[in-house]
């Protein structure tokens, strides 16, 4: 019951919306499409749903070519970023509508509507109209309508973006739970790396219409194949510094010299890109061989109980994600420490050559 995209492309007015996508989605899997705005997430979903026709390539469902098939004949569901429900129908009728169109028996419709409604905790609202509900309740109604009909493919196009933070977390957790037992293919588009991590399953990174990397979420997170993947799957994006390795030391941007220690010793001399997540840089050393750098504070933004500090020197700049509220004046000199065992290393063509070693159970 898998869905396969084969060399799928869609070009509109010379702009590639999706370029050469080759992906397979297995039944019962939860797939996250992660990418920035205009990365092609929605375009890809619309191709999978059959709402748009591909310029090239095929969509296969259970090995059968369904590329030209109309939306009505495919058994799919879609949930949009906007809360889309039939405004003239009650919540009950909204949820029942796909079943009524499938000419299901009345008693069966009633049973399934009530079951789905209670699953999504909107049972008391069945007699109301969608526009009388709060945003979260409206989206729950849309989800109930999508889940009630046992679709083989359920598409979520950034469904939680228009909800407030608390509600988002709550619905996200429920959503994951709802799909644990189901045998359908769930595809979920998001722009947030953290959301992809929270949802788990398989993650596919998209950038400008192309698939950058795909695989189980932790594999992609721990071993991004190139610098682009590393930056896409990190919020804020991973810091990248150019460095040159000789037999004894590493020099960052011909400016900051450090002795080679630990696993970096294995690197053959040459030019590399060194990546480090903003949350791994600290203001105090944690190990003896942390790479110490003198920087200046460029900007310090406080976001909730975290501080995003942008630091720079004459050669490169970095973003640090610090726990707690830190206040630094612009231009203040700081020493930052990069743990050697947290460094990603990419070769000069930006392909991954070294991942941080993982102590079992250790945080990444």
């Amino acid at each position: 019951m898998s869905l396969t995209l084969e060399n799928l492309s869609r070009t509109v007015d010379g702009i590639d919306y999706v370029r050469d996508a080759n992906l397979t989605f297995e039944a019962g899997s939860f797939n996250v499409l992660l990418g920035r705005t205009l990365a092609g997430k929605t375009s890809m979903m619309r191709l999978m749903a059959g709402l748009d026709k591909p310029t090239e390539g095929r969509v296969l469902h259970r090995g059968e070519d369904v590329t030209g098939q109309s939306v009505q004949r495919r058994n799919i569901s879609m949930i949009y970023q906007q809360f889309i429900n039939y405004p003239t129908l009650t919540v009950y009728e909204n949820i029942a509508s796909p079943l009524r169109l499938a000419k299901m028996a009345k008693s069966e419709i009633d049973r399934r509507v009530k079951e789905t409604a209670s699953m999504l905790q909107i049972e008391p609202l069945l007699k109301r109209y969608p526009l009388e509900l709060s945003g979260g309740q409206q989206q729950r109604t849309a989800m109930a309508r999508a889940l009630v009909k046992d679709a083989t493919l359920v598409l979520f196009d950034e469904p939680l973006v228009n909800l407030d933070y608390k509600l988002r977390e709550e619905l996200r957790a429920e959503l994951r739970e709802l799909f644990r037992e189901r045998q359908c293919i769930a595809v979920y588009a998001t722009t947030e790396a953290n959301e992809a991590l929270a949802l788990g399953g398989t993650t596919t990174l998209l950038h400008e219409g192309r698939v950058v990397q795909t695989g189980p979420v932790m594999d992609v997170y721990r071993a991004p194949t190139n610098t682009l993947a590393a930056q896409l799957f990190s919020e804020p994006p991973m810091n990248m510094i150019r460095g040159r390795v000789t037999s004894t030391e590493v020099t960052f941007d011909e400016y900051s010299h450090h002795a080679l220690t630990q696993e970096l010793e294995k690197l053959t001399p040459g030019d590399y890109w060194f990546g480090i997540r903003p949350s791994h840089i600290s203001l105090v050393p944690t190990n003896d061989d942390d790479l110490e750098m003198s920087m200046e504070v460029a900007l310090s933004e406080i976001s909730g109980s975290e501080t995003f500090m942008h630091v720079e020197n004459s050669h490169f700049e970095m973003v640090m994600q610090l726990m707690g509220v830190h206040q630094y004046h612009t231009g203040a000199p700081v020493k930052v420490y990069l743990p050697v065992n947290k460094l990603f290393v990419f070769d000069s063509s930006e392909q991954l050559v070294h991942t941080p070693s993982r102590v079992s159970g250790g945080a990444l």
């Binding site: 709402l51 009505q72 799919i76 949009y80 906007q82 039939y86 009909k149």
Partner: protein
Amino acid sequence: MRQTRSKNIGITIYILLLLTPVYWLLNMSFKTSREILGGLTLWPQNFTFDNYVVIFTDPSWYNGYLNSMAYVSINVVITLLVALPAAYAFSRYKFLGDKHLFFWLLSNRMAPPAVFLLPFFQLYSSIGLFDTHIAVALAHCLFNVPLAVWILEGFMKGVPREYDEMAYIDGYSFPRFFIKVFLPMIRSGIGVTAFFAFMFSWVELLLARTLTAVDAQPIGAIMTRTIGASGIDWGVLAAAGVLTIIPGLLVIWFVRNHVAKGFALGRV
């Protein structure tokens, strides 16, 4: 306090001035012709329903109403049937010259009806449509369809395309989606459109009178031809006037909610 009172006085005077002709029409319709011609009386001295009785019993009078209502209804129905799909196409699809076509439709309304008098008359006479209800209804469509497309397009654009897609995903076919999902969503727009189509067709006299003779003569035409052997029957004419206003009032009362909501939603 003083300000509100002076405001109230102003409004009262304004409304009185507006209602004077309407009152006078009503006043006349309940008087006998003798009293109307006799001198100034502010209200009927010999209150009578005779004028109304004449209209409701004389076929040459009440047929006028029936004719008017017939072609107005046909016109509203045709206008909506034609304009709904057209407006949907304009709001959803891109096609060659769509913007030009849309503007051209509107420019149809810029010509006064008199311009089309001769072509319509000649055309209808030669194909045997002269003096039929459908003739007047079709002639009015020339003015109503563009306006209807324009109004409806505004309403339809306000419905995100995702609604269409959601319905297809749920399994609706296009016709079923259009009738069961889409039309109810823009029903206030349809109300506004029907109202405008009705208004134009009901008050338009020039085309309606020229394109008809006996069988489909509208009430407006009959009212302008009521010179009997004993001169003009003022009382009956006034009663006819009152009865002509009533359908308009009914329609306004009926669509008032929709119009108020519609004006805020659409672009009109």
